[in-house]
Symmetry: C2
Subunit: 210 residues, 2 copies
DNA sequence: ATCCGTACTTAACACCGTTAGGTTAACACC
DNA sequence: GGTGTTAACCTAACGGTGTTAAGTACGGAT
């Protein structure tokens, strides 16, 4: 009711621009994103955006940043439902990764379409906001004896690669397993079917045919 | 010497256009590709391309097609060096996948940036030209007893996901393992380090700490 | 009253994919 | 020889793009 509520706050338009960009990417995809479309949705001229951002790339980067944050929260909450040190907790993280990617395809695509300029650390990777969380779960599972001891970074990267690869392949062609491939229809189901391979490996073992 | 040698053959300019497009994608990336740049490199006007192709997308699709073919040959030759039914053969395919992706980054990016319109089969996937090859190696390894018996499609997809995920992550940030992650510097080395996980799994086993 | 920075604006540039329409040369047929 | 027909291009242009330059309105501070 006061003036402060009516007059746009500092950075309010900035937020509007980022939100509009996010929505447009989600609706029509990154390649179809245009500054003029963003501007029109916000209600300003296209060049006004350059007052707040250094250019299109900078704008997209900001959207990616907000996606990172959301992704981290998603992973945290998925993990909290399972006991510390359990394999279930690790599995839940993998499932959350898949769910996030499939429910936020636009975000996921944007995140992994960019080239990181300042890597040097796994956690700096796109989507790497979830890496420390995964690593922690892996370390705890090793300490509890549920997971065999190994380099935790290597094991985390292995898990990450597997689930990330599956997500990417699924997204690349909206892969759906047919009859001869498996009876589970959802991608999450596919990840679940990977469970035995992840737990017991691929190599034949004496008498072991689970 | 005859006229036929001087006059361009049928489809010769078409080939030149595809080659120029491939080179430009490799040099400057798909987003920077322009019809005018392709035309200039070939030595014709930009609109001439439309005489041979339906548009930019069609042109890119043709480049992708040639990349598929090359990828298939790459996988075939990598496999031939190892005995049928061996785990080494399966491993060699994974290494070849990584090598191809890292040596032909532009191709690989293009291949997986497209959306397949006619999927319905794993082999229709981008890069799926290698899938039947992988599947065959997996089936043979299961029959020889080197690999534990399981759904061959599921096991193949699992292997594919793992190596594809690693490749994607490496490409996303030119990830290089540091001291605390592993002593092997190359991405291929990373894949090699995945070996124990792939063979024996992650789960702790009684007395088993290789 | 004047200056100054913020928050925009319009106009324009250079480039993009694509289309329309024209030109040239080769070839087939009567 | 004349007459289509077609392939293989061309130039000009349209509407779109990211981005820059330059100008305008306005709200304080001095």
């Amino acid at each position: 009711m006061t003036q402060a509520d009516v007059v746009p706050r500092v950075n309010e338009i900035e937020t509007q621009i980022v939100d509009a960009t996010r929505d447009l990417i989600a609706d029509r995809g990154l390649p179809a994103l245009s500054m003029r479309a963003v501007a029109e949705r916000v209600g300003v001229s296209a060049t006004a955006i350059y007052h707040y951002f250094d250019g299109k790339q900078d704008l997209v980067d900001r959207v990616v940043g907000s996606a990172f944050a959301r992704f981290g929260e998603y992973m945290e909450s998925a993990m909290d439902c399972h006991p510390r040190g359990s394999m279930e907790r690790v599995r839940a993280l993998g499932e959350a990764y898949m769910s996030f990617a499939l429910e936020n395809v636009a975000y996921f695509r944007v995140i992994f379409s960019i080239q990181i300029a300042h890597p040097r650390d796994l956690a700096d990777l796109p989507g790497g906001g979830g890496y420390p969380i995964l690593r922690r779960a892996v370390v705890e599972a090793m300490e509890s004896g549920a997971m065999r001891r190994a380099d935790p970074d290597l094991a985390s990267l292995f898990l990450w690669s597997t689930v990330h690869g599956l997500v990417t392949l699924v997204l690349a062609c909206r892969l759906e397993p047919r009859d001869e491939c498996g009876e589970s229809p959802t991608p999450q189901g596919l990840f679940e079917l990977f469970g035995p391979f992840l737990r017991e490996g691929l190599e034949a073992r004496d008498g072991g045919s689970s």
